[in-house]
């Protein structure tokens, strides 16, 4: 680990003042400390923002605001969330371990790096770790890699579960940039595809801080589900995950939301399948058709063709679980 200076910020304004391009923020530390140990992150300084940012969850008429420093565990115990946004709780509980959820922050969950094995193996080329060095996964062990939205420069997937629920629920990311100006980025545009800049995971401006996540009020709290398929039943990253949320009018689907993890460089929304579901009567047949629409879009790599039938089944299951809730 490269030596670094350690600074503690008391407020977000102070944190932004201390921030330079050579320094990194640290909140929960569950990802960055590991990256420091592996010499993947080599900052000159670390700025502790754990007591500088909001730990509040505020419910209003129009939305729910989650402070960037709210711990993952709090998202599973807060009564406003459990009542109005249970999909978020369900997704968070599917991720990590109780110890890590106690430490990890909401904003940090968005900013965590991929778990592609080549990103962590500093002896191999990786465009995400080192610009222009090449992608080892595209023709290598890409069992856990993307099946949609990838480029020949990077096939990594975003590892978060929380983010899958947030993209499904049309959340917004609020932040403050280095000039102390506030900004808002729709969640679906927060993370980016690898394209030819795979070293960038998201569209957060440089040296900016996330202040809170806003989730608009919705009617998805009655019919929802989160399906996560992985190599063991707990404490593993998703091979495939699906968040489903339905707003029903009797038997008819008024609105549908479908999003997946383990498939792309960003939390992925299945818009075509959502439009297909809208206005249909809920049935196994309709769900099957929706899953067929989803897999039309995917193009697996050399080692992850298994993800296609797995995704198809997970979509059907997530929709059935949602109506049967």
């Amino acid at each position: 680990m490269k030596p670094f200076i350690f600074e503690k910020a008391k407020t977000s304004a102070e944190a932004l003042k201390l921030k330079t391009s050579g320094k990194d923020f640290i909140a929960g530390g569950t990802n960055i400390v590991d990256l420091l140990k592996k010499n993947i992150a080599q900052p000159d300084g670390m700025i502790d923002v754990s007591t500088a940012l909001s730990t509040e969850i505020k419910l209003s008429e129009r939305s729910l605001n989650i402070g960037s420093m709210v711990r993952n565990t709090t998202l599973t115990t807060n009564s406003d969330l459990l009542k109005n946004y249970p999909l978020i709780t369900k997704a968070v509980l599917a991720g990590a371990s109780p110890q890590i959820r106690n430490m990890a922050s909401t904003a940090g969950n968005l900013l965590q790096r991929t778990r592609c094995p080549y990103f962590y193996d500093v002896t191999t080329p990786c465009n995400k770790r080192k610009k222009g060095s090449g992608c080892s996964a595209v023709n290598g062990d890409n069992k856990m890699s993307a099946i949609v939205g990838y480029s020949d420069q990077c096939v990594a997937v975003h590892p978060s579960d929380l983010c899958i629920s947030l993209v499904a629920l049309d959340a917004n990311v609020h932040g403050v940039d280095s000039k102390n100006k506030q900004f808002t980025i729709p969640f679906k545009d927060f993370h980016k595809l690898p394209e030819d800049t795979p070293w960038l995971d998201n569209n957060l401006p440089q040296n900016a801080l996330i202040t809170h996540i806003e989730v608009p009020k919705n009617e998805f709290h009655k019919k929802y589900s989160y399906v996560k398929l992985r190599e063991r039943t707990s404490y593993a990253f998703a091979m495939i995950s699906v968040a489903s949320a339905l707003q029903m009018d009797g038997d008819t689907i008024k609105e549908a939301r479908l999003a997946s993890g383990g498939v792309a460089h960003k939390p992925w929304r299945w818009h075509e399948a959502e439009s297909y579901l809208k206005g249909k009567k809920a049935s196994d047949e309709v769900f099957k058709k929706a899953s067929e629409i989803v897999i039309e879009k995917v193009k697996p790599l050399s080692h992850n063709a298994y993800k296609v039938p797995m995704l198809k089944g997970a979509i059907e299951l997530a929709l059935r679980n949602a109506v049967n809730l």
């Binding site: 490269k2 030596p3 350690f6 400390v33 140990k37 502790d48 371990s97 109780p98 110890q99 890590i100």
Partner: protein, 197 residues
């Protein structure tokens, strides 16, 4: 006329050894240069911190890079907390921060001041073991014992959080602690036993 293929065994060994030494010099010099550049020349940043561990205050000097795990083991000689993977995957380093379970290997010691740290050494009251420690002994909750301090710290928190309503729930909420001996059944039994107290 000398036969060009007639080299002696001695000549072969000598020449190979010399070649090996010369081949090794550039790499070892380079490695040494890199070490100097990366680890000796950059000045490590030293901090003076005050942390409370098992209700005892400590003023210690640490490298800014130190994890809480290393500080507990190396500076405070509290070696009950174990280093397993050192990457947050095994749970052997589990301690309590303000009463909640956390991984000390992924916690920078510099971020701990102001929080109360509880380690396995702080669980018993003198010679009186914590009920969870007693239960692990009674229910065979371990074999080699390496993961046990982390398992016990996690188990105590699991009971406190109330995630003990079924075997499945206990397993889910203990999934951050791995046991290579496979003492899982004994661990679950210990937790059920303490939860029923």
């Amino acid at each position: 006329m000398s036969d060009p293929t007639n080299y002696s065994r001695r000549f072969f060994l000598k020449s190979t050894a010399i070649a090996a030494v010369f081949a090794a010099i550039p790499t070892s010099v380079k490695a040494f240069y890199n070490d100097v550049k990366d680890f000796i020349l950059p000045k490590k940043s030293v901090l003076l911190i005050k942390i409370s561990v098992n209700k005892k205050m400590h003023d210690i000097k640490i490298d800014s890079r130190s994890t809480l795990l290393d500080v507990l083991r190396e500076n405070l000689d509290l070696t009950g907390t174990k280093k397993g993977c050192d990457h947050g995957q095994c749970g052997a380093c589990t301690v309590h921060l303000d009463g909640e379970r956390a991984l000390s290997c992924l916690t920078l010691a510099a971020m701990v001041p102001g929080k109360e740290v509880t380690t396995i050494e702080g669980l018993s009251a003198g010679n009186q073991l914590h009920p969870m420690q007693e239960a692990f002994i009674e229910c065979d909750g371990f074999q080699c014992g390496y993961c046990t301090p982390g398992q016990i710290m996690s188990a105590v928190a699991c009971v406190r959080e109330g995630h003990t309503n079924s075997v499945e729930e206990i397993k889910e909420f203990m999934s951050g602690n791995l046991c290579r001996c496979g003492a899982y059944n004994g661990i679950v039994e210990s937790i059920q036993k303490v939860a029923a107290l």
